[in-house]
C-alpha cells in the first residue's frame, strides 16, 4: 500500500511539472469539444439555392419568401434554363436550383398539372436528400395554404422527435465526443508515461526495488484514472453549460460506466506501451487503435449502415458500448435496467484488458 501510494505521489508530481500533460488534461477536452461540437454536425445550413422565377406572380414571390425564411437557404436569383444549370453547379455558384416555370401558379390552381423543378448537385448524396426534404416540406405547407379544400385528401405526416425535439446534432455529438476524449487522454497519457520510463530506464530501476508489478500498475493507473474523470467532468460541463445538452439520467450511473471504461482505456494504453520501445511507436499504435475506435464506435458514422462483417468488428471496440451508454444516460435518462447488457460487456472488456495488460507488463518487466 505504501509503495502504491509512493508511485501515485510521484505521478502526480510529474503531471504537475509536465506542461503537456496538464494541457492534455484540461485544455484539450474543452477545446476539442468546442471545435468538434460545431464541426461534427451533419446539419446542413446556408445552402446556396439558385432560383429562376419565370412565374413572377405574387404567389411565387410568396413561395420564395417562405423558402428564404426557413433559415436553411441563401437565395440567389439566376437567369438560366435547365440546361444552363449544370454550368452553375460546376462553377459552384449554387448547390441547387429551383426552377418555377411560367404560369406555374395559374396552372396549379386550374389543375393543369404543372410542376416546379429542383435540380440538386447530388455529389454529396446526404446533402442532396436533405435539401430535397427541406423544399418538399415547404411546398407541402405552402400548397396546403393555397389549395385548401380544393386538393384531394391524402396521408400527411407529422413527427415528433423524442429526447431531442429540435434534432440538434450537438446533443448527439457531445456525449460521443466525451467518450472519445477519455480514450485519447487515458490511452495516450499512460502509454507515454510508461514508455518515457522505459526510455530513461527508470522502469528498470523500479523493477529492482521490492515493488511488485501489480503495485506499480495500480500506482500508475490511479492518477491517470483521476485525470480521466477530471477531463470527462470538464467535457460534460462544457456540454451542459455551453451547448445546453440535457442530462436526464443518473450521475451515479454515468460515473460508474466511466469508471469501467477508463479502466479499459488505461489498460489499452498499458498494453500499447508494453509493445513499444519509443514514443513514436506508442503514438503510431494509439493513433491506429483510435482511428479504429472513431470509425467503428458509431461516434460519427451509423454502425447499421456498415456491411455485416464490419458491424461484427465494431463489437470489438469498447468505445462503442461506452458511447452508447453515455448517449442513453444523457438524452434518454436510461436507468440501470436498460443497460445491464452494456454494463456487462464493458465490465468484460475492463476485466479482459486489465488482465492481459498486467500479465504482459509483468512479463516484460522481468525479462
Amino acid at each position: 500500500m505504501r509503495r502504491i501510494l509512493a508511485i501515485v505521489k510521484k505521478e502526480f508530481k510529474q503531471m504537475r511539472r509536465q506542461k503537456q500533460t496538464l494541457l492534455l488534461l484540461f485544455v484539450v477536452p474543452v477545446v476539442q469539444l468546442l471545435i468538434f461540437g460545431y464541426v461534427l454536425t451533419t446539419d446542413v445550413k446556408n445552402i446556396d439555392l439558385g432560383i429562376k422565377d419565370s412565374d413572377k406572380t405574387v404567389f411565387s414571390r410568396h413561395l420564395i419568401d417562405k423558402i428564404s425564411n426557413s433559415g436553411y437557404f441563401k437565395i440567389k436569383y439566376v437567369d438560366t434554363t435547365p440546361r444552363g444549370v449544370e454550368e452553375l453547379l460546376k462553377k459552384r455558384k449554387v448547390d441547387a436550383v429551383l426552377i418555377i416555370p411560367e404560369g406555374f401558379m395559374r396552372k396549379v390552381l386550374r389543375r393543369e398539372g404543372s410542376q416546379a423543378q429542383l435540380i440538386v448537385n447530388a455529389m454529396d448524396s446526404n446533402i442532396a436528400s436533405i435539401v430535397t426534404g427541406y423544399i418538399m416540406r415547404i411546398f407541402e405547407n405552402f400548397g396546403a395554404g393555397i389549395l385548401k379544400g380544393s386538393a384531394p385528401a391524402k396521408v400527411k405526416m407529422i413527427y415528433t422527435a423524442w429526447f431531442n425535439p429540435e434534432l440538434k446534432s450537438v446533443y448527439f455529438m457531445v456525449p460521443g465526443l466525451a467518450g472519445l476524449i477519455i480514450t485519447i487522454i487515458c490511452t495516450l497519457l499512460i502509454g507515454f508515461s510508461i514508455v518515457r520510463e522505459k526510455e530513461t530506464s527508470t522502469l528498470e530501476q523500479l523493477s529492482i526495488t521490492p515493488i511488485k508489478p501489480h503495485e506499480l500498475l495500480i500506482g500508475k493507473m490511479i492518477p491517470y484514472a483521476l485525470g480521466g474523470f477530471l477531463s470527462i467532468t470538464l467535457a460534460l460541463m462544457v456540454g451542459k453549460l455551453w451547448f445546453h445538452v440535457p442530462m436526464r439520467g443518473s450521475y451515479l450511473l454515468l460515473f460508474g460506466a466511466s469508471f469501467l471504461y477508463i479502466l479499459t482505456a488505461l489498460s489499452i494504453g498499458i498494453l500499447i506501451a508494453t509493445f513499444s520501445t519509443s514514443l513514436l511507436q506508442v503514438l503510431f499504435l494509439s493513433w491506429f487503435s483510435l482511428l479504429f475506435a472513431i470509425m467503428l464506435s458509431g461516434l460519427l458514422i451509423p454502425i447499421r449502415n456498415m456491411p455485416k462483417f464490419i458491424q461484427f468488428l465494431s463489437n470489438l471496440t469498447p468505445l462503442k458500448f461506452y458511447i452508447k451508454m453515455l448517449r442513453e444516460i444523457f438524452l434518454k435518462g436510461g436507468g440501470l435496467n436498460l443497460m445491464l447488457m452494456d454494463i456487462a460487456i464493458l465490465s468484460l472488456f475492463a476485466v479482459v484488458f486489465v488482465l492481459i495488460s498486467s500479465l504482459l507488463f509483468r512479463k516484460r518487466l522481468t525479462a
Partner: protein, 364 residues
C-alpha cells in the same frame, strides 16, 4: 546531378530495405479505402420501425407493407399502443414508431387529410432527420400512387452528377485527399527528422550540397510513392466502387501532382520544426491529417460551421483538393472551373517550400 543521383539511390535503397513498411505504405491506403468506403456511409438503410395501427383498414395495412417493400424500412413489430412501443424506442431497438389514427381511412374517404404521427428517437439527431426525410418522400410517392389526383403543388427533383445518391461516390474520392496528405506530409517529415536524429543531416550540411538539393531529392521517392498511391486509389474507386469519372485524366493528374507538392512541402516544413520523430508525427497528425478530415468538407459541410471555423478552412489544402477531385471525377469540370483552387495549392506549396529551404539552410 551526380550528387542528386547518389541521394536518390540512397532514398530508394531505404525504401527497398524495409519491405514491410513499403508494403504497408502502399497497400494500407487501398485496404483502408475498401474498408472505409463501406464504413463511411451517411445514407441510411434498414430503418427499424414499429407500428401502432389504430385504424386496421386495408388501406393503411397497404401503407405499412409498401414501406417495408421500399428497402429503406424494416418493420420490427406491431404494438397495441404507443406506450408499448416506448420501451423499444428508449432501448434503441426501433428508430421510429409510426402511429396511424383510428378512422384514418374513413377520414380520407370523406376528403379530409389524415395525419399519421411518426415518433422518432431524437438522440441520434442525424438518423432522426434522415428518417423523417425518407418517410416524407415515401408518403409523397404513396399519395400520388394511391390517392385520386387533384390540384397539386409539386416539384420534380433532378439529382445531378449522382442520380442514385450513392454516398460512396462522394466519400471515396475524398479519401484520396486524406491518404495523399498522410503519405506526403507525415512520411516526409518523419524521414527527414530521422536523419536529424541519427545525426547524418549534420554531415549532409557539411557536404558541398545545397539545402535545395537535399530537399528535392529527399522528396522525390515519396513523390513517386504518392503517385503510385494515387493511381491505386483512383483505380479502386473506378473499378471497385464504380465512381464515375467525368473529367479529363490530364487535369486530375496535374491537380494531384500539385496537391502532392503542397503536402510534401508542408512535410518538409514540419521536419524543420520537429526535433524528434514522435514530435514530427504529432505535428503532422494535428496540423495536416485532423484538419484534412474535419475542416475540409470531407464529411462535414463547411457551410454549416461557425464563421470563425469556416475562415480556418481556407488555409487547408485538402479543402481545395476535395473541390478539385470531386469536381473532376463527379462533375467533369476542367481547368476553367478549378484554376483558383490550383493557384492556391501552388502558392501554398511554394510558400512552404521556400520557407523550409530557408530554415533548413539556417538551422538543421
Amino acid at each position: 546531378m551526380r550528387k542528386s543521383k547518389a541521394f536518390l539511390k540512397k532514398e530508394f535503397l531505404h525504401l527497398i530495405r524495409d519491405p514491410k513498411s513499403l508494403f504497408l505504405i502502399s497497400l494500407l491506403p487501398v485496404i483502408m479505402l475498401l474498408f472505409y468506403g463501406y464504413v463511411v456511409r451517411m445514407d441510411v438503410k434498414n430503418i427499424k420501425f414499429g407500428v401502432v395501427n389504430y385504424d386496421h383498414s386495408q388501406f393503411f395495412e397497404g401503407l405499412v407493407s409498401d414501406m417495408e417493400a421500399s428497402s429503406y424500412f424494416t418493420r420490427e413489430g406491431e404494438f397495441p399502443s404507443l406506450k408499448d412501443c416506448e420501451k423499444w424506442i428508449v432501448k434503441g431497438k426501433v428508430d421510429a414508431c409510426l402511429i396511424i389514427p383510428s378512422n384514418g381511412y374513413k377520414k380520407l374517404l370523406t376528403g379530409k387529410d389524415t395525419e399519421v404521427l411518426l415518433v422518432l428517437d431524437g438522440s441520434d439527431s442525424n438518423l432522426a432527420t434522415t428518417v423523417a426525410n425518407y418517410f416524407h418522400a415515401f408518403l409523397a410517392k404513396f399519395n400520388s400512387k394511391h390517392m385520386p389526383r387533384g390540384p397539386e403543388f409539386r416539384f420534380s427533383v433532378v439529382n445531378f452528377f449522382n442520380p442514385e445518391l450513392k454516398s460512396s461516390h462522394f466519400f471515396v474520392p475524398g479519401l484520396a485527399a486524406i491518404f495523399l496528405m498522410m503519405i506526403c506530409a507525415m512520411l516526409t517529415s518523419i524521414t527527414i527528422v530521422k536523419e536529424k536524429e541519427i545525426g547524418s543531416l549534420k554531415l549532409l550540411r557539411l557536404a558541398p550540397v545545397s539545402p535545395f538539393q537535399v530537399i528535392v531529392v529527399k522528396l522525390l521517392p515519396y513523390l513517386f510513392l504518392a503517385v503510385v498511391e494515387a493511381s491505386l486509389i483512383i483505380a479502386v474507386a473506378e473499378l471497385w466502387f464504380r465512381v464515375p469519372f467525368r473529367g479529363s485524366l490530364l487535369s486530375l493528374g496535374v491537380s494531384i501532382f500539385i496537391y502532392m507538392f503542397a503536402g510534401l512541402s508542408f512535410g518538409v516544413f514540419l521536419s524543420t520544426i520537429a526535433s524528434s520523430q514522435a514530435i514530427a508525427m504529432i505535428l503532422s497528425l494535428v496540423l495536416t491529417i485532423l484538419p484534412s478530415v474535419l475542416l475540409s468538407g470531407f464529411i462535414f459541410p463547411i457551410k454549416s460551421m461557425p464563421v470563425l471555423l469556416q475562415a480556418l478552412t481556407y488555409i487547408i489544402p485538402a479543402r481545395y483538393f476535395l473541390i478539385i477531385i470531386r469536381g473532376i471525377m463527379l462533375m467533369g469540370v476542367g481547368f476553367k472551373e478549378i484554376y483558383r483552387e490550383l493557384v492556391f495549392l501552388m502558392v501554398f506549396a511554394i510558400f512552404f517550400f521556400v520557407i523550409s529551404t530557408f530554415r533548413l539552410k539556417r538551422e538543421l
